[in-house]
Symmetry: C2
Subunit: 372 residues, 2 copies
Amino acid sequence: MKFTIDKTIILENLNNVIKGVSTKNVIPVLNGIKFDLTNQGLSLTASDSELTINSFIEAKEIATIESTGTIVIQSKFILDIIRKLPSDLIHFEMIDRLKIRIYTENAQYNLNCLDANDYPNLKMDEHKEPIVLNGEVLKSLINQTVFAISTQELRPLFTGINITIMGDLLIFLATDSYRLAKKNIKLSTPVSTDVNIVIPGKNILELEKIIVDDELVEMHIFNNKVLFKYKNIKFQTNLLSGTYPNTSNLIPTEFGIIAKLNKADFTASVDRAALLTQGKDKNIIKMKIENKEMVINSYASEIGKVEEKLEVDTDPSAMIDISFNSKYMLEALRTIREEEILLLLTNDVKPIVIKSVTDESLIQLILPIKTY
Amino acid sequence: MKFTIDKTIILENLNNVIKGVSTKNVIPVLNGIKFDLTNQGLSLTASDSELTINSFIEAKEIATIESTGTIVIQSKFILDIIRKLPSDLIHFEMIDRLKIRIYTENAQYNLNCLDANDYPNLKMDEHKEPIVLNGEVLKSLINQTVFAISTQELRPLFTGINITIMGDLLIFLATDSYRLAKKNIKLSTPVSTDVNIVIPGKNILELEKIIVDDELVEMHIFNNKVLFKYKNIKFQTNLLSGTYPNTSNLIPTEFGIIAKLNKADFTASVDRAALLTQGKDKNIIKMKIENKEMVINSYASEIGKVEEKLEVDTDPSAMIDISFNSKYMLEALRTIREEEILLLLTNDVKPIVIKSVTDESLIQLILPIKTY
């Protein structure tokens, strides 16, 4: 293997795959990135065996290919090494199966490599009927839901995003059992078989970072894995096994109180009130609605108290006194793009639903906290 | 105490003093910031008893003063509280000796305060003959030396910067015994009494952050403390006690090898070589000069090796093979502003001196490391 490539191109493609590299030492060869150079181009692959990322550089993007071959380069420092080399063109030359020379005119790195023969054969199959989404739409689906997943390994399914497709209705849903985020869109083509899968949250977050524009993303769904194809990148993750709990009966459909609020003002008030929450009651703030006025407050015995007043568009008889986690509220509010929001309430123990005034496709739900 | 002030003004002045607040709980009242409002203006003071910072806002900068008074406000959250309030004008109203209300139209914080009667009387005396420096010059003196102080408390004097003044010659010097940084300037007015003091490094770093332009800084030196006056800010720190070791005989005056190098190229080569240093030999790289060529290299058994070649302007017979700490070299190089530097060398155990070609006022010295 011997080739010369533009620094920007190799850096960009290494950046695509680097997050796939295993950080564990169970299979040592997975700590490396597999470089596979053919006359068609250079294929870069990284995997931790659950997540596999491949980025392909076509031959026409490579300055010169003198000889082809396969080698596994240790991922540690590789981005820094390339980034710091003092030239736009970088030479790669395999010395033997376990050594590569990466160099420019006056600087050279001789790096020990891992044995390409040990690298597992990672199948990245494609489905004959992939689901096609716009890149920006997929980014939104992820961003508007993924923050609500659980970080607790106790209930593994809750650490993932539940994706269901029935006909032409696609739903992303995440919950940690204290809050829930749900976003749906209509597909241009209905699926022939319904889908109900759970993708690990940490992997879908990496996918979100790789997608940078509105180019199309293909989603190839299998029983135990899903492959996303985006531009020259293939991103394959395992699925979490098990049946995701049915959450449809958690979201109330009737509410005693509907309050319309300016999103920016409400967000700023919750944020200021959150500042004084501490210790065991961290993030808990109180909200009261009465006579079309909302009062938000919090209290920290050592520091003091804060009180915020907001006008709210609601029925004059609407009255409630409720407590919630301000961090959950701020994260839910951040997903809504419209200027005005609706808070849908029943009483101080029933879920709070947050929606935009106009967009029915996104629902944020937070359970209140009982305080004494 | 009741007054209204522009958010930007109060924030800027709180920012000036906040680093003076004690983070220990030995004297609880020092966890607060003292607000002292008279008809002349608002004085803000923070201190940990070794470092005291005062920022004064003149009455004409305050929107309205309804009544004067003194109160000590807890420093925790105070910057965030002011920053997040939704108005340009912020009202402060003392409720009683231990409570203050900070508010705008719809948002209010009621904060518990500390007892102003407990606040120590911090004298910030001024000297009749202060030393006057330009702000930018003082920043350079600090930046070009302070990084070389020791972080080890074993030799407390080395955790400070040694400032000496003899006649009109002012010298800033720092060393951790493995490297040394020394910068001198000429004062416009000679001092009548020589000065030899040691200022705690962490405090002088805070001073450096406060100075933002070339306005004059007055230095008022006393036996056990020094007061810096800059604009509306007074910054007073204790001195470290003891006699700073005489370092003048550490800096060689004769060298067998004088090598002239492009600073940017040398820096980049050292930086690339440093990338592969690890483990117990962290930061150690080798440098060899022979036949007017410099070769820099480092080696990490697991990862590989790196080799850099540089042309160097030196006597053709100059020959040396020496090892040094790359981090120390990079930090020393960063202080030199000229494009070309001189490396002054004797042999592989004598200090390496780094200077600019034209500026004799700055000397950086690094001890080589013996490798086997």
